[in-house]
């Protein structure tokens, strides 16, 4: 499940050929171990769109609006938006911490593997949503672009995430357990008779430009 190349990118190795044999072996071993031991959990619900402006999107059932120019643009064509949360659970953190105590290198690599595994579980969840709802926008998370992290609180409440999959938010808006993702997917309306061309956005997060993004200097997703 884990994309080994993605793990390498998280470790700062942009091209797989640059990786040394020991690191490749450890990535392989830890990826297999984590895949065998960790199970992701997810929840998602569809939310009807109540109101759209260029500044943000209001959803029925979400106590606060999704504010941001990027998200407003992304969801502009949508009447229904799926909110999802996915987690590897506290077991992931325990495993990483245990590995770190035994070897800092193993801990570093295990952490990267766990991040990639979380993304893989998110992909699975997204695939399930797609099978129910049809075409979807990019999977967009609070913290991307100009969508603040603070909206996570309302999203987690709307999904009853703490009860259902044990995901909550710290005082500093950090998702706990750490290997968790909160995401937004808009349902794209079917337009009969028209070919839908995939947009050629350069970045996976859906942004056209990295200028606004606080992670621009270290983002591993920049192509």
């Amino acid at each position: 499940m884990i994309n080994r190349d993605e793990v390498l990118r998280y470790l700062g190795i942009r091209e797989p050929e640059q990786a040394d044999p020991q690191t490749l072996a450890e990535v392989e071993a830890l990826s297999s171990e984590l895949e065998a031991k960790l199970v992701g959990r997810w929840i998602y619900n569809p939310f009807p769109v109540e109101k759209k402006t260029a500044e943000g999107i209001w959803l029925q059932g979400l106590s606060e609006p999704l504010l941001g120019k990027d998200i407003a643009k992304l969801l502009a064509p949508c009447d229904t938006v799926y909110l999802m949360a996915c987690t590897l659970g506290p077991q992931a953190e325990r495993l990483i911490t245990l590995k770190s105590h035994l070897s800092p290198t193993a801990g570093l690599i295990a952490d990267a593997c766990a991040s990639a595994l979380t993304e893989a579980w998110c992909d699975k969840c997204e695939a399930e949503i797609r099978s129910r709802a049809g075409d979807l926008t990019f999977r967009y998370s609070p913290g991307y672009g100009d969508l603040s992290l603070t909206i996570q609180k309302a999203i987690l409440e709307a999904l009853v995430a703490h009860k259902r999959i044990g995901v909550s938010l710290s005082d500093s808006y950090l998702l706990t357990p750490r290997k968790s993702v909160v995401a937004i997917l808009g349902v794209l309306p079917k337009v009969l008779g028209e070919e839908t061309t995939p947009s050629a956005k350069p970045h996976r997060c859906g942004l056209e430009s990295c200028d606004l993004c606080p992670l621009k200097e270290t983002c591993t997703r920049r192509r």
């Binding site: 640059q18 044999p21 020991q22 690191t23 409440e157 703490h162 950090l174």
Partner: protein, 859 residues
Amino acid sequence: MSELHNTSSAAFTALFAPEHLMIFDGAMGTMLQRYGMKPGTLPEALNLVDPALIQRIHREYLEAGSDVITTNTFGANAYKLSTSGYSVTEVVTAAVENAKAARGERQALIALDLGPIGKMMKPIGALDFDGAYEYFKEQIVAGVAAGADLILIETMSDLGETRAAVLAAKENSSLPVFATMTFADDGRTLTGTDPEIMILSLEALGIDAIGVNCSLGPEELEPIIQRILAFAKVPVMVQANAGLPVSVSGRTEFSVDAATFADFGKRFVQGGVKIIGGCCGTTPEFIQALNGLRGDYRPAPAAERGDYVCSAQQKVALTGKFTLVGEKINPSGNKGLKAQFLAGNSSAAIKEAFDQINHGAEVLDVCTSLPAVDEMAVMSEIIEAFNGLIEAPLQFDSTKPAVLERALRLYSGVAIINSVNGKPSSMEKIFPIAKKYGAYIVALCLDENGIPETADGRMAVARKLIDTAATYGIDESRLMIDCLVLTASAQQAAVMETLKGIRAVKTTTRALTTLGLSNVSYGLPYRALINRTYFAMALTSGLDAVIIDPGAEGIMDTLMAFRVLANQDQGAVAYIDYQNEKADQAKQDSDAKDAVLAAAHASAAQAAALIGQLTNGGGAAAAVPPSSVTTVVPAAAGASQGAGGRSSANALPADSFERLLLEGQKDVILARTKVLLETTPPLDVVDLHLIPALDAIGQRYEAKVIFLPQLIRAAETVTAAFELIRAKLSESSEAMTSKGRVLLATVQGDVHDIGKNLVKVLLESYGYDVLDLGRDVPVEKVVSTAVAENIQLVGLSALMTTTVSSMEETIVALRATGAPIRIMVGGAVLTESYAKTIGADDFCRDARAGVSVAAKVFA
């Protein structure tokens, strides 16, 4: 049916009577939504804002047949109410008042409803036991004062948090306490606790009823309910959801109707579930349907089960099998542990725990007694560090009752106390603690008259221990009698008496037997032979448990062989597997040793060839031994040197330190260091060989020829060589002078620490001392430690846009002290310019940059 542990009213006694099915209510949230509550409203605030609505809902449940209504206080704790403008006392009092008003004169009970706090417990979150306890205590004090009849702790998924709530209830009220946890469909809570472990841990604290609620509908809960009924000694409680939630236009709806709910309910109560209600999605209609099941209730007897100890994730049976308790987490005679305890670091203890478990220990003895160390503080740190990480149950080893009590209080599970003895002063201090926390106790057969010489004498002390324990309400099955092992060299005649004592305890009492075995060989040559022979003799005499080093020669061999001979290991299946694993491991170790020795002493060319074999996966050393903690990581099978490409380690001579460090060849490095130390002063080995290799590696990293994993691997590998050098230096009473001390911390509110930990590994590999305050460190702690320890360089880490403000606060506070402190900062969201804006001296783009700053500061 078990006795109630608390005082109770006449109404409670009637409604909790043995033949009576006790019916709780259904969901509050679902009913509030039905009556138009908007999303984002705080349900608990409605107690004050719309009491009539709350009373109406309570009344509807009472009219539908509820014996007990639960107060609208699920989230009424200080954390969840913090932005509401209401106090916990206000909300809880109003909630109980509403319930009383709705009840009127009916014979019904009011349960104070306590849900989870909403924060995760340490080490994953920031909440610790004492903090959790205070949140619950506040609610309970208010609830009791307002007139609740019992306390319900529900929807819990963390055993530690649940224990804090149960203890808060027991210590701040005399009301009956019920607790239910939430399980996922894999039969565990989200933090890994299964139903049996929940039952063991909470019954140990004296819970009055136990069970499951929420998370799943009745059909999915059925297997879990059956497990609970089969294991619980107290009455069982179930509150299922009305099926699984589905979303319809932004509203959550549930899939099971009242009739179906009651069909399942009927099976549950026929199976012995005594207390039943409904959780999410249920309404008065559901309760009405449950009300029709009163005639179907069949009381079930308390389950028969053996004796177990447990952690929050794992239980270990003490009866029906032998239990090996690992003795090595004990600082006496262990320099590594001593040093770490003094430094407040639990890494060595975790490694020791991991090793012992791999060798076959099922339970771990933990002792933190050391002069100059706060025994209770270190014990608490270890328990916290082990929580969720090390799953083996623990045995707490201390002569101080206060330390034992604190350990049992903090520990999420059922543990063993090591130990009590026959002196009145010991028994009167230890038995009450054991009773309160439901612990097992190692009981030593000695008293104020010393150690009796004969088996009869020891049996007499054992009798005294058993009888006295009974006066505290402790059954003899909770005692693990230690008949005491004396040294064969000094008291040879007494050695067999111990075995006679074990037999006497096993035939005349229901207590268990344990032994701290390695004493017997003290003073004799080839101790391992004496120990394993005595072990076999003790096993034959009926020993139930031993406290020993599981990795010691012959111990696991003896146990595995005994199990075959005693007809326990049917078909010798386990024994054969064990021997096969041992053979594989021995071959690997032997091959690796040969290569290492050759590499250390042979010519460079031979060494290169052998190492080349090792790293190409040619030798048996290619497989990473699963139990090994070393990082001799082989090349990926089939990866040739050439195709490894730009990783220019391949271009280095095979036996160079630089290459060996990059590849993490710990054993080879150690061998080469040993050889060097024969002819070279230790500090020269450091300055002329190790540091230059690290510097070269660092430069390659900066040139982006090698990458972070290799850098860290090198740093980690070199620390092994440093241990060797430190040992050599201490032989001649020298010490490696520290290059300088650096304080590191992840700032308040942030728990990302991998980056910080990498900086630590690198700094230490270069010879700096690191004082690591950990993560989520309050501003005041950074400041006070920096001042008290005369720190010249502080490194701060923050990884989130929301926590850089804590970083700024910390910097401001450090500057305000006026002390000459250089501050470096790091973290993915930081930039050079932002770092300057918040007042830092240095911005570290990566872990290595921290070393450069340290070099400048301590030049």
